[in-house]
Amino acid sequence: MTTLKNLTEDTTTTRTLLHEAIPITGSIVSGTYNDENIKNYTHGMLQSVYDYPYLSSSANHIFDITTGISTQSPLYSSITTVDAQQAKKKNIYNQMAQLLVGYDVTGSVLQFDEDGNIIAGGYKIDDAIIVPFSRLLAKDEIKKESFSLELGVDSLYAQPLNKRITISDVSASTEYRVNSPVGEYGILYATQSAAGVGPYLNQTSEHTASIGGSTYWYAGLLYYQAGIMVLTASVFGDQLRTAGIGGVDLEYLTGSSTTETISGSITGSTIQNIADGFRHRIYNLQFNNTTELNSTIYFCRANYNEFNYSSNPTYLENSRVRVKNQASDAPVSYITTVGLYNDNNQLLATAKLSEPLKKTPSNEFTLRVRLDY
């Protein structure tokens, strides 16, 4: 007689990738909450976006926005005012680059490369809008080829979403890079969305690739495990790079002054203002995250001649088994709970069945208990 049964060989381990869809509509990050869900800091190096006014305990941090500029950028030397935060933008760029791209053999920080082919040289991303997603959203990693960001690129600030481009990691499930210190990353490509009348992207740009017979514009990099998007600022302007990808030098910030184009913003505005302008042009953002579940499965086998009696006090009436009329009747018990123990009989895990299972000597059960880690 016993109440415990050894599991012996009845365990196995599995690994499962769990995906969740993360949709973020643009009105959440700009509009719905009158920016009460936007947290700015006195250091001014980044802006945090929440899914609800951040003073509420219900608010979840969803992503940050910041801006970086390389010292190699033609715009770098044009930043002369204190408000334009040249040092902070440079520091952000270098911090992100050393983390995400790494160093060359001389120990110098490498720049973000638009096609990920660092050895071949080619175009670099000098001016970047960087969006690190919170772990709550990205979980273990962003699922490849699930990322899509729709941005408004209408030249008018007042109606930014009338013309839109879509930025996505096209074909990344089979075409991603592994030459980053922080794992895998994909190339973000821009295409014209259906809305409005083009062109929204520079038709003579040199920063293009052909995928599946279609033309895509290099728009940035997406680091899957790190959960960080590095977006070239040139999606908002055609003057930012040599033959940049933007179709028009649009009004990036409020107003129509030429200083409020994306290049004017980088050289003349704070990181916070640039983040505000970026949020203003987000139409839709979505991706799938990935959670890696490592599971141990315990097969708890109740054979025909096992677990047919109960120690439940109601099972007996004056020590006599209630469910029998005579000794030869088959015993009956009902399973509602499974307990998993270690060698010292310490209860480590429990599982409950949604309804009682009738156990008699004429049946057998294998209860499959999965613990995820």
Binding site: M1, T2, T3, L4, K5, L7, T11, T296, Y298, C300, N305, E306, F307, N308, Y309, S310, S311, N312, P313, Y315, L316, N318, S319, R320, V321, R322, V323, K324, Q326, A327, S328, P331, V332, S333, Y334, I335, T336, T337, V338, G339, L340, Y341, N342, D343, N344, N345, Q346, L347, L348, A349, T350, A351, K352, L353, S354, E355, P356, K358, R370, L371
Partner: protein, 316 residues
């Protein structure tokens, strides 16, 4: 915890217990699952209707409709009543545990129906030559009160005695209990309040103490806690099992230094009560702090169990 949805497929809702998570965090190799048990905590077998007019398919209709709660994470709150494997499928009687109160030395306090554990000497007995009469462990004639255990003086005072066997008049006690004899027991008690001790006053170390401060002791025939019930003759005094008799568990409870020296736990977990003291008039009372708790005794092989009510008291 909510009820599990039982409208569709049968699902299994599994969680680590709080103690399991603690062992996982300690990473000392104790988190290795090697065994399982099945239980039926929610089932009320009195609903099993062997005389249902519609036939045997309806005997357990109400039992199978029992809603089941989600799993608790408290390890002490789960798997209270395990299913048991017996090789013999023709058993009609199963063993139970009964509190043996056939003698004043191992009976409960008749006022509270619980065993009262005096936390310190001052609460137990002021001493025969003392002019103070506040102690509650002895009466006005300096006799130990029934149902009182002395937490610091383990050589005197009462004890707790549990008998195992088939408590039925349908079987003669002269019959052998056979394979249904329980040899090993688990005793659970709050480790902040008391420690397990033999009836001769030797304290036992627990197997382990869980995250909720519940201590688990294993006692067996080889130690001083469990013995075979010697007298099988029904006429012999001191028996509570009417049928075949198995084993007997006897123990005392020693109080912890916290309970002996401080009111803290009493203020947190209990209250105050007026109790009869040892004043010569026999009508004197003392105000005492108290904590009510239980000690659970479970047969490791048969799964039969009993909860014994305990009240710790300390002079206020």
């Amino acid at each position: 915890m909510a009820f599990l949805d039982n409208s569709g497929d049968i699902i299994l809702d599994a969680v680590l217990t709080d103690h399991g998570r603690k062992l996982l965090a300690e990473a000392n190799g104790d988190f290795v699952i090697t065994k399982f048990a099945l239980a039926d905590d929610e089932i009320d077998y009195s609903l099993y209707n062997k005389n249902h007019p519609s036939g045997s398919a309806y005997y357990d209709l109400e039992i199978l409709q029992s809603p089941i709660l989600e799993a608790f994470t408290d390890n002490a709150a789960m798997l209270k009543y395990n299913l048991v494997t017996y090789g013999n499928l023709e058993l009609l009687f199963l063993p139970v545990l009964r509190l043996n109160e056939t003698n004043g030395d191992w009976s409960r306090d008749p006022i509270t129906n619980s065993f009262i554990v005096c936390s310190n000497e001052e609460t137990t007995d002021n001493g025969p030559n003392s002019t103070s009469f506040t102690a509650v462990g002895v009466d006005e004639t300096n006799t130990d009160r029934t149902g009182f255990l002395f937490g610091t003086n383990l050589t005197s005072g009462g004890r707790i005695q549990i008998d195992q066997g088939l408590d039925t008049t349908q079987l003669s006690p002269n019959n052998s209990i056979g394979d249904l004899l329980e040899n090993n027991y688990t005793i659970q008690m709050d480790n902040r309040l008391g420690k397990l001790a033999t009836i001769t006053g030797i304290q036992q170390a627990p197997d382990f103490v869980d995250d909720d401060n519940i201590a688990y002791y294993t006692v067996g025939m080889r130690g001083q806690f469990v013995s075979r019930i010697a007298n099988i003759n029904n006429a012999v005094q001191g028996q509570v099992i009417s049928g075949p008799r198995g084993s007997r568990v006897e123990f005392k409870i020693a109080t912890t230094p916290d309970v002996q020296s401080s009111n803290y736990l009493f203020l947190q977990l209990g209250g105050t009560v007026s109790m009869a003291n040892r004043e010569a008039s026999g009508t004197g009372t003392s105000s005492c702090y108290f904590i009510d708790t239980t000690v659970k005794i479970t047969g490791q092989n048969t799964g039969c169990s009993i909860d014994v009510p305990i009240r710790y008291v300390r002079l206020a």
